[in-house]
Symmetry: C2
Subunit: 195 residues, 2 copies
DNA sequence: TAATTTACTGACCCATTGGTCAATAATTGA
DNA sequence: TCAATTATTGACCAATGGGTCAGTAAATTA
């Protein structure tokens, strides 16, 4: 094996720098020079490691996504029951280190490019597929089959909607409120009164 | 009265052109020249009627928002009962002429600028306040007071989340599915089993 | 009709930025 | 030690795009 240790280190630094600059500057403002400066390097090095700007931000999105995925997976591994699995997915998506306005701003900037950037669209597709698959693995044991799809979509939409709210109106939506919302939905939609 | 008829006409043309270009090009790609061309005018005229690019897109957002507001209000005016009011709000937010991927793309581009554009943030705030107020006017008659806030937020988040899904994954989410989702939520959360 | 305001254009400017490249430093490996 | 690869920089380029401006056409008003 040989993958020039340093190259992998630099690439990671730059991906993260890109994501961090994105948080404050948006896609247009996140210039290659700013990203380089933020990583303590020169613009040239960015294009040495990434084909172009799109390529850089594609990898930035991948990295951010991987973080979230790992957080959810860590919780899923500890979950024993379907209910716990559901809880793991929900709480993983609202961990305090992620559920922050600036992080949401970066995601918003990336999502806004999805329609014109097939690479980003693919990542988005993967994210959604994983979310759905995770949710289904829990819901299947909690609901009649024919309701699972709808509830999985609703939970996904709720999570996205709450994130969006955080990004658009930083004040006035705490992590706790968001989690309470999710639990309220689950309580009413899954823990039914009748049976 | 005097407001130079033509100036109001031009301004409206340009706002709409701006929003339409935004649908396909995103904020960075929506250049003043493209907007002008799309309206059959020259770049100069755009800056004759709008202070700068931000100003133009602020008005574009206002215009798009007004459209949605009018659609909802028209339905609200016909609504007789709280349930009908709720239905009006929901269906107004998913009218076929609005609930389209390209429209959502434009909104996404605008929302992505909100964090760095105080003017857009203000509009966003107004939008949310109106949505909340509309919802509360119905929910107050359907639920105990202390649950209204939460349900209003959930409905808002659900709507936003479904719109986002439409923007990020055009295939696979129809208007009918989105509406079914909303009705499913309302049915389970408001039309309770017990009382 | 004459005068004044408004509409509109196209040329121009300048700052920015993505991307290329040649040259140099560092590292690796034989 | 010496060659070959890799890392890194900074200068440079071409293009783009936002914004200004001077000047012309149109229209409104007196």
């Amino acid at each position: 094996m040989k993958l020039t240790k340093i190259s992998e280190i630099r690439r990671k630094e730059l991906r993260q720098a890109a994501f961090e600059v994105l948080q404050q500057e948006g896609m247009a403002g996140a210039t290659l020079e700013k990203v380089a400066a933020h990583a303590g390097a020169s613009k040239g090095i960015v294009l040495h490691y990434f084909r172009n700007k799109q390529d850089l931000f594609e990898h930035a999105m991948r990295e951010a996504n991987a973080s979230l995925r790992d957080a959810v997976n860590a919780r899923l591994n500890r979950a024993r029951t379907p209910h716990e699995r559901l809880e793991a997915i929900i709480e993983g998506n609202f961990e305090e280190r992620f559920f922050r306005p600036s992080i949401c701003h970066a995601w918003l900037s990336l999502c806004a490019e999805v329609p014109r950037e097939p690479q980003l669209a693919r990542i988005q597709k993967v994210i959604h597929a994983r979310m759905r698959s995770n949710l289904m693995s829990a819901l299947v044991h909690l609901l009649p089959r024919n309701e699972c799809d709808a509830v999985a979509l609703a939970i996904t939409a709720l999570i996205d909607g709450l994130w969006l709210r955080l990004g658009l109106q930083s004040e006035g939506l705490t992590r706790e409120m968001a989690l309470a919302q999710m639990k309220d939905y689950v309580a009413h939609r899954i823990a039914r009164c009748g049976d």
